[in-house]
Amino acid sequence: MKFENYMTIDFPSKSSNEAFARSAVACFASQMDPTLEELGDIRTAVSEAVTNCIVHAYPDALGTITLRCRILKDNTLDIIIKDRGVGISDLEQARKPMFTTGGSDRSGMGFTIMESFMTSFSVQSVAGKGTTVHMRRKLLRRK
């Protein structure tokens, strides 16, 4: 086994689930003894990824978001957030800071924040099939 623990949750793309998703991951990660800053970064990145699914992947109807977390042996939290929505046709453009196809209540900073708050970050998307965000955060072991 390459992992210490894992969990998977499926939930509908309702905006009330943004708070649920980031809290669920924070609860799961708490067994890794994270610092407040690490926990804050993880909650923020999860909030961004889940919001993207709700706003962009399923713009007109509810769809399912799958959230999978694993704790790897080197005290790394591995997170996958997956949707089967519309997909992103131009990933390079989507990842640019300040770029958004959303309204004035969106800042276009989601991908930038995920990238800067996590140790590694990648996104795969197929138009019409969906998007998968894969990110990891290595936590410092406290003595």
């Binding site: 804050g40 919001t51 209540d105 924040i113």
Partner: protein, 107 residues
Amino acid sequence: MHLTSYLQEGTLTIALTGEIDHHCAKEYVKTITSKIEAYAPGICVLDFQDVSFMDSSGIAVVINAYRTMAKCGGTLYVSGLKAQPMRVFRASGIDKLINIKEAVNEI
């Protein structure tokens, strides 16, 4: 979403509370815009003292307030940022655009 606001000597202070995410951002943008437009203050302070969490939706709320204040010819300040919201401010770069103060009484 819950906020309180008061106007004193041309300064409109708006205190935000709780967690700011996409779920409540639209309502915040709408309410803050209408308050600024109603009072057209010279100074508007967004007080983040009681904001325990925000993601990039909070950035959109601040940028919208900044633009609305600029249209009225006023200045926007943000005060009382806790560590987590401050990290989001820094990662997005808007800490270079917006006047940030530690506390409301510094303005």
